[in-house]
Amino acid sequence: MTTNETPANVPEPAAGKGAPLLEVRDLHVEFHTRDGVVNAINGVNYSVSAGETLAVLGESGSGKSVTAQAIMGILDMPPGKIPKGEIFFRGDDMLRMSDEERRKIRGSKLAMIFQDALSALNPVLSVGYQLGEMFRVHQGLSRKDAKAKSIELMDRVRIPAAKARVNDYPHQFSGGMRQRIMIAMALALEPDLIIADEPTTALDVTVQAQIMDLLAELQREYNMGLILITHDLGVVADVADKIAVMYAGRIVENAPVHELYKRPAHPYTRGLLDSIPRLDQKGQELYAIKGLPPNLQHIPAGCAFNPRCTMAQDVCRTDVPVLHQVTERDGAELPGRGSACHFWKETIHG
């Protein structure tokens, strides 16, 4: 293995959490479309351990969701293609597995929660049936036992009057309740890892808080790994242990959550943090990152962020920055911190 050559590329697992549950190494994904090749992911590395929450933060087109789909094995191929990379789940590379082996992992060991619960649930089947299906198919339970289990699950995700509502259909539930049902489905087989793709984006603020709390609590209870994919810097701050910031299909910065907010080491992260208005103070003019996110068919040469970056120099337009290990001024390594910026020192230390 080449882990020694690029130490910063593989984020260190947080102390005391043991070996990583999931490890993504140098993942590339491209889409072959009529208009050419879209380079959605260009070398992503991250890992999650049991009981740990990794937030993957990015704007639309950053590749955060595509990475999740590649991990789940639900990428449409074609047009999608994984030309390079490894995805280790408990030490086995899932990309080298047979379809049958992957299917066994999916659902029972790896589960996913989607943004839009209404379209992820089948509208013509009752929620009880859909929940029970997990037990009937994977565990061979009888219809009656499966139903009992479904009610238990609905209780666990705090759906009031679960017994009475088990035969209701998805449209009879509110958005927040539907997202709870999605969570219950993901939890059904007690997976080791849950990937939540924008789980609260479609929900109202007060409901958002409920759902995030529920997720965090269940994660502790089951000691699961959680990958939280989001564009919302606020949501991340509440629940994540560590953050990976993605831009144009690469991770540009990773850091433990508190440190990222306190001292961003990449100009993109810093720009994002500066550009959101604050609830607790009224600023003058908002800082705005200039320009637009890049077109994935024509990613700028060098650092993908260079046309929008205030610090860009000539080197940024020619050399793709690797993920540097971030250190203190005196050279002491900051554990779990990396920045893919040629000028990370200037960014973090001013």
């Binding site: 704007e59 639309s60 009031p160 509110s174 958005g175 927040g176 309740m177 109202d204 603020v205 007060t206 409901v207 958002q208 808080a209 409920q210 995030m212 709390d213 564009h231 919302d232 810097l233 606020g234 949501v235 991340v236 701050a237 509440d238 959550v257 508190h258 907010y261 306190k262 720009g271 994002l272 943090l273 550009s275 959101i276 208005p277 604050r278 609830l279 607790d280 103070q281 009224k282 600023g283 003058q284 003019e285 908002l286 800082y287 705005a288 990152i289 200039k290 637009l292 996110p293 929008r308």
Partner: protein, 383 residues
Amino acid sequence: MAEMKKKAGAVADSTPSVSDVVESDASTTTEVEAALDKRVARGEPILQVRNLVKHFPLTQGILFRRQVGAVKAVDGISFDLYQGETLGIVGESGCGKSTVAKLLMTLEKATAGEVFYKGQDITKLSGRALHAVRRNIQMVFQDPYTSLNPRMTVGDIIGEPYEIHPEVAPKGSRRKKVQDLLDVVGLNPEYINRYPHQFSGGQRQRIGIARGLALNPEIIICDEPVSALDVSVQAQVINLMEKLQDEFNLSYLFIAHDLSIVRHISDRVGVMYLGKMAEIGSDQEIYEHPTHPYTQALLSAVPVPDPEAREGRERIILTGDVPSPANPPSGCRFRTRCWKAEEKCSKEEPLLAIPQRFATTDSLAAHESACHFAEEKDVVGAA
């Protein structure tokens, strides 16, 4: 016209200088006074909304329809909008905030109530008179992907207002005007012949704003204008909207669910819940001195992108979901989710007024709030 230009120039020049910073520092010491001054010195409202009601009938039957109930989307809302100010309206989905926008645009017919634009009730207007009023009230839509006709060029989209109101610009001058508008919103005027799908979300929203500006309106109603945009692009559009407001002395009604953005752009804020106004006041009054439990819960639920600022905050997590607007709770509509609810709340509907206990004080808690047990609570951690 010359005046307008001078003003625009002044705005451009006024990059935050040392003197500005000093000034704003000074103002914090007397911020309460300043806020109170602002309350007095607003002048005449440009838009007055009085007891606005919109019920959507629920019907059964195909050939012979009969009404079986009504969704009370907006159920008696009153507020004023002043010249040059931004009034933010916040609330969760289903609270009726988007319906308010449609009513003000007369895209929906109000069930009851009045909307006075410069003293004229626009809900009663039709035909030519309505057409004339529409010139002055324009709208920016939420979704930049569906609010522009995909079959029209950008030039046709921004120029359409001139075809509908030909008196605004003679035919020959329209192309030039459209190009100027593109320039004003920060787009290359050469893009005039392109189609919407050739632009990104942020650029499309700029096109939507340019269309809203074309008739030189006095009021722009913005229904979630940045919620469909990426974070890094949101800031660009917000800054543009603020710049344009100063430049053209626009009044904004800014409807959004993102409380941070609303605070940033608004002078005053109204909080809606289930078709009613729960609380209304200046941005400082609402965010730093909220007295309605719903506002407090809403504010405390907002995830703050700063783990340290979060530590000191009290979080109020509401139970349950928003009830159906077809069958709202009796009395106070928030009582089913409120931790303060008592017998009185289910019987008596609280009116939107300055609470008695604060009425005689000059505290910032003395603003209109529709709660029987209004009580100040700082949930944002700003004070």
